[in-house]
Amino acid sequence: MGLPDILFYVFAALTLLCGVLVIANPFSRNPVTSAMFLVLTIISMAGLFVLLHAFFLAAVQVLVYAGAVMVLFLFVIMLLDLKEEERRRIKTFGLITGLVAVGAIMTIFVKTIRVTKPDGNLSPPTLEGEPAALGKLLFTQYLLPFEVVSVLLLVAMVGVILLSKKDSK
């Protein structure tokens, strides 16, 4: 077992552990703790991306998710005063429904992964996700989606300003 394999197990365990702590932290029910563990999940997932040789996406993941999105989350958590949320308990009915849903979708996943056995002669992966290759593809074949996404971001920005503006009337 080489170093990348060990690193895979480390990052995978870290991702799943922090993922559990996001949704059900036994020590604290404060949303800020959840947000912090989500940051850890995202960073260890960036580690998995590096192991998959998707270097550019790993950087984008840390910059956009752990940087921008989580700061936005924390900002909103601080903005809202959520003191009383800590007292509420999880309802048993919700827990049962959630477990049933998760069991159902887990069955589908397990069956899918079982069915799609990889053929043994699959060539070893040689793909490198460095920025140059990605950028070349992005500005040739995917130019139109790229421009559409820029319009989408503009629309989102205008929408957010409109939504969060205080009513002057």
């Binding site: 996001v22 040789h53 909103v76 958590i77 919700g94």
Partner: protein, 101 residues
């Protein structure tokens, strides 16, 4: 044992299930939103691993777009939550069961 596609897919499936469990069981709007992010990330991981093991860069382009759209979605969603909080003074789904504000 060589780390292959299945290993990454198992991690991705488990992470997706965690996100789903969070969405269904938690009652705080912000935590529900974070669980949604977890599910999106699980899908991203699956796409990147497919891309790597099929020697095809299109999956990574897809992830790039997903990250962009997710950022826009988070900003709009959080603005909606703030607007809702201003009207109702709560971010708890059980207090938000009526359709009329």
């Amino acid at each position: 044992m060589q780390i292959g596609l299945e290993h990454y897919l198992v991690v991705s499936a488990l992470l997706f299930c965690l996100g789903l469990l969070g969405v269904v069981t938690r009652r705080n709007l912000l935590v529900i939103y974070m669980s949604l992010e977890l599910m999106l990330n699980a899908a991203n991981l699956a796409l990147v691993s497919f891309s790597r093991f099929n020697n095809n860069l299109n999956g990574q382009i897809m992830v790039f777009f997903i990250i962009t759209v997710a950022a826009a979605e988070v900003s709009v969603g959080l603005a909606l939550i703030v607007a809702l909080y201003r009207k109702r003074q709560t971010a708890h789904v059980e207090d938000l069961t009526t359709m009329k504000l």
